[in-house]
């Protein structure tokens, strides 16, 4: 009886003790937080593993020697690492020459895309003209309909290049532009290149978000329209320029579809060479064992992604911040 009574009074006391109450809440909250952070850690590490593991596998195996490939004892760390895969892959890819050409090609296309898409995006963002909504609808159509669906007409257009029958009108010859990089430059110059619609959209959203006052100040000071765009608006659009640059570089570099469809030479496009690397090595160097062939392909893949990874490592931080401010969000 006495004990129960004592217990009850203790319980009442404990219940009304706010300090204890707060203490308990604090512990519960911090435990919750801790469990959440463990959960988050597991999830993020797990998914990061899904992303990185193929990469680790490829990078590691590209250093395997023949013995390592067949040794059951070897797991991830090669016993007798070799650079032979890279040597042969570099020779067969003609790596440095093709990579130089490829980077030149990709960078020049990116510059064209940046110039044109920023112009068009600015035009849509700041000017009023007849049929504006309809024309912006065309941009959306371009995003939704990838060029893959109209490849055949494009192929025909460039095989007998005769824009709007102008060439034949003035007695010129139709030109075959296939097997040259010209079609892609033309597409980019006219704002219809690889994913141009998306870039126009990004620039449009960004320019719409900039305050009108900076433009007006420039007009008042006597700047022309184009001058204002070039010297006032472009320097303010750095975040979206970084975003578009990285997207454009990466997608153009990885592109195989246009390169195949327009038959661009594999002296310019490294990804085309990589595609046939396995077969080349099998036939020219008589590496008949497919398991060993594969190691050369891995080395080729590492060589191929190397420049993009380097660029990404340098631009990464600014890029992610850039996307956050680049007006994809509008």
């Amino acid at each position: 009886m006495n004990i129960i009574h004592k217990g009850r009074s203790l319980w009442v006391k404990a219940k009304s003790d706010t300090q204890l109450h707060n203490e308990r809440n604090r512990i519960v909250r911090s435990t919750k937080k801790f469990i959440m952070s463990i959960f988050r850690l597991i999830l993020i590490v797990g998914i990061a593993y899904v992303i990185i593991s193929p990469l680790i596998g490829i990078v590691v195996s590209s250093f395997f020697s023949n013995e390592d490939q067949y040794s059951p004892l070897v797991y991830l760390i090669p016993q007798t690492p070799t650079l032979e895969r890279y040597q042969l892959a570099i020779t067969r890819l003609d790596y440095f020459r093709v990579m130089g050409n490829n980077l030149l090609y990709v960078v020049s296309l990116t510059v064209v895309q940046l110039a044109i898409c920023s112009m068009v995006g600015y035009g849509f963002a700041r000017f009023n003209f007849p049929f504006k909504r309809l024309l912006f609808g065309c941009v959306i159509v371009m995003i939704v309909l990838p060029a893959h669906t109209i490849m055949l007409p494009l192929y025909m257009t460039f095989r007998n290049f005769d824009p709007l029958w102008l060439f034949s009108l003035f007695g010129g010859e139709k030109v075959n532009l296939l097997s040259t990089p010209v079609p892609l430059y033309l597409l980019s110059i006219f704002g219809t290149g690889l994913r141009s619609g998306l870039y126009i959209y990004i620039f449009n959203q960004f320019f719409r978000g900039l305050p009108k006052e900076i433009e007006e100040a420039s007009f008042v000071d006597g700047g022309g329209t184009f001058f204002t765009f070039l010297r006032v608006m472009i320097p303010n659009a750095i975040p979206s320029i970084i975003t578009v640059t990285l997207f454009s570089l990466v997608w153009q570099y990885n592109d195989l579809f246009y390169a195949n469809a327009f038959n661009v030479s594999d002296n310019i496009v490294l990804s085309k060479r990589l595609n046939t690397l396995g077969a080349t090595i099998a036939n020219r160097d008589r590496v008949v064992d497919p398991n060993i062939q594969q190691l050369y392909v891995y080395a080729g893949i590492v060589l191929m992604i190397l420049p993009m990874v380097i660029i990404y490592v340098f631009l990464q931080r600014r890029f992610i911040e850039g996307v956050e401010r680049s007006g994809i969000v509008g």
């Binding site: 596998g57 109209i150 055949l152 704002g191 994809i328």
Partner: protein
């Protein structure tokens, strides 16, 4: 004696001048769209509706064929119908998963924790590496070994020399009585697609992250003061605020999976390998229209539930 000052308008008004310079800015796009897009779409339709032969100097149309090639695509071609439904089906399954996953990951990466920048960098990595040439090189290299295409994960399995099989169906079967089979199948499918889903949601994660960052902190403050639980905060604040981006992301995801779909591949092969231009054009047109239809329906459905600030 009033001096009538005649305001003579010289040239154009300011509005007109502005609209002309606007047109100047967008003129490259307009020209390109007409030459390369409008013209091409028209030509695709023309191809689909007529017989054509390929000659040395180019192609020639040899008469109107009506709907013959549409008929052929649907009732004669051995695999078109199957590939079309399969591609669209995959799209319908994958897109919600990718959207859900990327929103979830964006929420997670938006929290403050150590190594956040590294985690973000890793999650964007697939965009860099998602190159068709790498995929093709890998699958051909694999194909010579096991005689078929295989996902990258088995490459790693081979590369690291282990074969850790894990029969997920068995573990899911243990739950068989409690959960309906269709849901289990969907989950099993989702798990086996995890690699595809993770690697194709890089851009979407970034877009959602950007949306999350743009939510004003004062909204959360209000929610907290009013005593909302985290669950309520998510559904009443976070979700409505990112919902406009849901449409953008959906369009991006659908188009992205359409580009890599089998049906476009079939259209490409029919056109360029078999030189059957009319049939190839029919394939492109049909797949194009069905994807547009899906986008339209889904877009309307989502945007009805979207919250717009203005």
């Amino acid at each position: 004696m009033t001096t009538t000052v005649k305001m003579k308008r010289r040239g154009l008004t300011l509005v007109q001048r502005r609209s002309i310079s606007g047109l100047m800015f967008i003129s490259p796009f307009v020209i390109g769209f007409i030459i390369f897009y409008v013209f091409s779409i028209g030509m695709t339709v023309r191809f689909a509706l007529s017989n054509s032969i390929d000659t040395e100097t180019g192609f020639q149309f040899t008469g109107f064929a009506g709907l013959r090639y549409f008929n052929e695509a649907f009732s004669v071609h051995p695999s078109f119908r199957q590939i079309l439904t399969q591609s669209l089906g995959n799209m319908i399954i994958d897109v919600p998963l990718i959207l859900f996953f990327s929103l979830f990951m964006a929420l997670m990466l938006n929290q403050k924790f150590k190594g956040r920048t590294v985690a973000r960098a890793i999650f964007f990595l697939p965009v860099l590496l998602n190159s068709p040439s790498i995929a093709t090189a890998l699958s051909t290299a694999q194909g010579t070994i096991i005689g078929g295409n295989s996902p990258v994960s088995t490459v790693v399995m081979d590369a690291v020399g282990g074969s850790g099989g894990f029969n997920i169906d068995f573990y899911l079967g243990l739950l068989g009585d409690a959960i309906p089979q269709t849901i289990l199948d969907y989950i099993a499918g989702a798990v086996s697609r995890i690699s595809t889903i993770v690697t194709s949601s890089g851009v979407q994660i970034i877009i959602f992250l950007a949306a999350l960052q743009s939510i004003s902190p004062s909204l959360y403050e209000v929610a907290k003061i009013e005593g909302a639980t985290p669950y309520e905060t998510f559904w009443k604040v976070t979700f409505p605020m990112v919902s406009p981006l849901l449409v953008t992301n959906m369009v991006y995801t659908v188009v992205d999976s359409f580009i890599t779909s089998q049906v476009l591949d079939l259209a490409y092969r029919t056109t360029f390998n078999d030189n059957n231009y009319s049939l190839g054009s029919v394939f492109s047109l049909v797949s194009m229209l069905s994807v547009c239809g899906i986008l339209l329906i889904a877009g309307l459905w989502v945007s009805k539930r979207t919250f717009y600030q203005n």
